[in-house]
Amino acid sequence: MLIRTVIALWLGAALTASAANELRFCLRADPKTFNPLLVEDENSATVRYLTGGVLIRLNRYTQELEGELAAKWKVAENGQRIDFELRRGVRFSDGTPFTCQDVAYTMHQVMDPALHSPVGDSFRSAPGDVETTCASPSTASVRFPAPVANLAAQFDQVAILSVVSPRKESAVLGPFELGEYKPGTYVLLQRNPNYWKRDANGHALPYLDSIRLEIQQNRELELLRFRRGELDIINKLDPEMYDRLSAEMPHAVADAGPSLDWETVFFNQVDSAPLPEYKRRWFRSSDFRRAISEGIRRDDIVRIVYHGHAHAAAGPVSVANRFWLNPALKPGSGSEAAALALLERGGFRRSGGTLLDSAGNKVEFSMITNAGNKLHERMLALIQQDLARLGIQLNVVVLDFPSLIERISRSFNYEAVLMAITNVDLDPSAQMNVWLSSAANHQWNPNQKTPETGWEGEIDKLMQAQNASQDPNKRKTYFDKVQQIVADQAPIVFLVNPNALSAVSANLRNVTPAVLSPQIFWNADRLQVGGSLVSQR
């Protein structure tokens, strides 16, 4: 009996110790795939980030590229070729050695049209094959049919697969490997025993034994479980939850500052849209759009809607994006006088408390947003009153998300829209699909055969020029001009960049919140639960 009790106590202690070295946080839904080359959704991307080994990694904190599996790299032929010097002695999680053949195999898979890899889209600059040459097991050279913009950074998304491992994509080079998956319940990632990286003292990384990704859609339950100590991290808190948690556990919350995401307003400028002609004229008037931008008090949105956890936006680059920001741009002032001056210049006039256009039409329009988003509903209420000061009647309409998407991308039956745009890439090349007039995501007037306005034509040229150039300073000059045109024409009114808010358990060490996703666990291989784990290894 005594022996049985001792064994039970020992087992209990062992289990507790195991659980104590585990990081736990939530995914909003099941990952759609565990194949790193097929990742499209955020949850699969989380698993890929934690398990996949890449040649080059963007450091989410410093925003600099760092060599991972590639000890060195060099971009050549104006961005058409990249040469890698690979680390030696690296093994996959199943013990298979990592060689140049794995890079060649992965690139072949990425570019295979039959696989439809979303990762491959960013490399497809022109028709033709991608060639990977292996001069030796530790040198690889990848050549593309045409120059690829920001080539090195694109490899941050390419998790290297093993060409010889029987475990296929389950054999990984990242700090963790897939341990167990229970659909709808959790994904358990276990420490990769063959992970190549070591800390400054020579200890093998990662420090954690496992990461448990609980699948939990309900954010209130997630918050409750965090409070109970059942979770260690909440990524992307909303400002209200942040403040609630901060009142109870002030040391558990982290505000990493403005993110790359935007809250924006844009007007329907589509030629075929079912709009009265006089409204189309308003929406195509840059004076009108700029007046709206000037009239919205962004500071109030930051203070009232985001409780201070956002930054007034001046243009398409967040202040978090240090290199690409055009510092000459300033956010709209919120000044009634400045807005009215612009409206007057555009032919509008006030009659009593109502704004009229040059033909005497009362200025009234609707603005749609997605239902169930309290932040948007509050923002719209503030904008409604801001525009009422100018004599504009704004009708607020909240729609379910599919209806909203239907209206803004297919039927074009809307007048103005308030919506959030998520941005995960620092480089402006990732915004080509927004700024090119021929692009489907050129939201205010998509899929133009030829640019319908001079300034859109100018943006097209500048974006293509920055995309073709490999000189960062030249590219910056081009994109600064794009930002200036966007500020002058206001096709999209940028309101705020919400802050990257998160919650972190006091038990978690080495946390350095960053504004780039994944904000908290970007350095997952160096995170520790508790304090004595390093010395145990």
Binding site: I304, N395, V397, V398
Partner: protein
């Protein structure tokens, strides 16, 4: 009418008068934002404090009462009339008609009406005024809320049809129409009234939930439903208990209505 019921009448009267005279009682408009006084506690200026956008909660409660107290009973009346006609006819006629109506009600209740509501919202013009939007919402609620009461009314009618006084009246040669209108309907009145009063708070809360789908009252017009949605933030409610005012008013109004309902129940047929 008892003393309690007179008291209930007075309370309801005060609520109706206050909501209709909101412009005179409240110092602020329901939509005016006092951005320097967001989430303010009750004060001489703001009797129930301000909401997260700095709007006077008291003004919004008064105007919201006007919207909900007029439109929710109207929708309840519509649904009760439809339920009374369908359920009463099925119970009274019995046999094949009753089976058809019962099957129809079951089918109606099993249909995903959420999609109809979404489709209706998608079809509405975007520049629909807030007042028109709220009227359409309550009209829809009235048209869709009849099925469950119809079941109860059918069962109640069936009980009455088999009762001695109706059998005796029928045996005496009273016509079917006279039997229905003169004898059956007055005896169904307690059931109909109960269904009506039960529907009122249900519709008020349904309107709040429809707000999540983009139906319901749009900004800046307030309604009880919209005000009750604020209570989702339970920690804010604990800190600011005056946020419970719309819930308290809803309970008081529904309780008063229930008290008055008892008067009707005890009235002779």
């Amino acid at each position: 009418m008892t003393g309690k019921q007179k008291f209930a009448m007075v309370i309801l009267g005060v609520a109706v008068v206050a909501s209709l005279g909101a412009a005179y009682i409240s110092r602020s408009s329901y939509s005016e934002q006092f951005r320097e006084a967001i989430s303010a506690p009750p004060s001489a200026r703001f009797w129930l404090g301000t909401d997260e956008l700095g709007r006077d909660r008291f003004a919004r409660l008064l105007y919201g009462t006007r919207v909900s107290l007029l439109l929710a009973p109207a929708a309840a009346l519509l649904s009760t009339v439809i339920a009374g006609l369908i359920g009463g006819a099925a119970g009274y006629l019995g046999g094949r008609w009753e089976r058809i109506v019962t099957a129809g009600v079951d089918l109606f209740l099993s249909l995903p009406w959420l999609f109809l509501l979404l489709a209706v919202r998608a079809l509405l013009p975007l520049n629909t005024s807030p007042v028109m939007s709220v009227m359409i919402t309550f009209l829809l609620l009235g048209c869709l809320g009849w099925a469950a009461p119809a079941r109860i009314i059918r069962a109640g009618t069936r009980t009455q049809v088999n009762s001695d006084y109706l059998v005796q009246a029928a045996a005496s040669g009273v016509s079917r129409w006279r039997l229905f209108w003169r004898h059956l309907l007055p005896n169904l009145r307690p059931i109909l009234l109960a269904q009506f009063w039960i529907s009122v708070p249900v519709f008020i809360l349904s309107e709040a939930n429809l707000g999540l789908l983009g139906l319901g009252v749009s900004e800046p017009l307030p309604s009880w439903g919209a005000l009750l949605r604020e209570l989702e933030n339970y920690s804010a409610v604990l800190r600011n208990p005056w946020m419970l005012a719309p819930a308290v008013l809803l309970v008081i109004v529904v309780s008063c209505l229930q008290l008055l309902l008892r008067t009707e129940e005890s009235a002779p047929c």
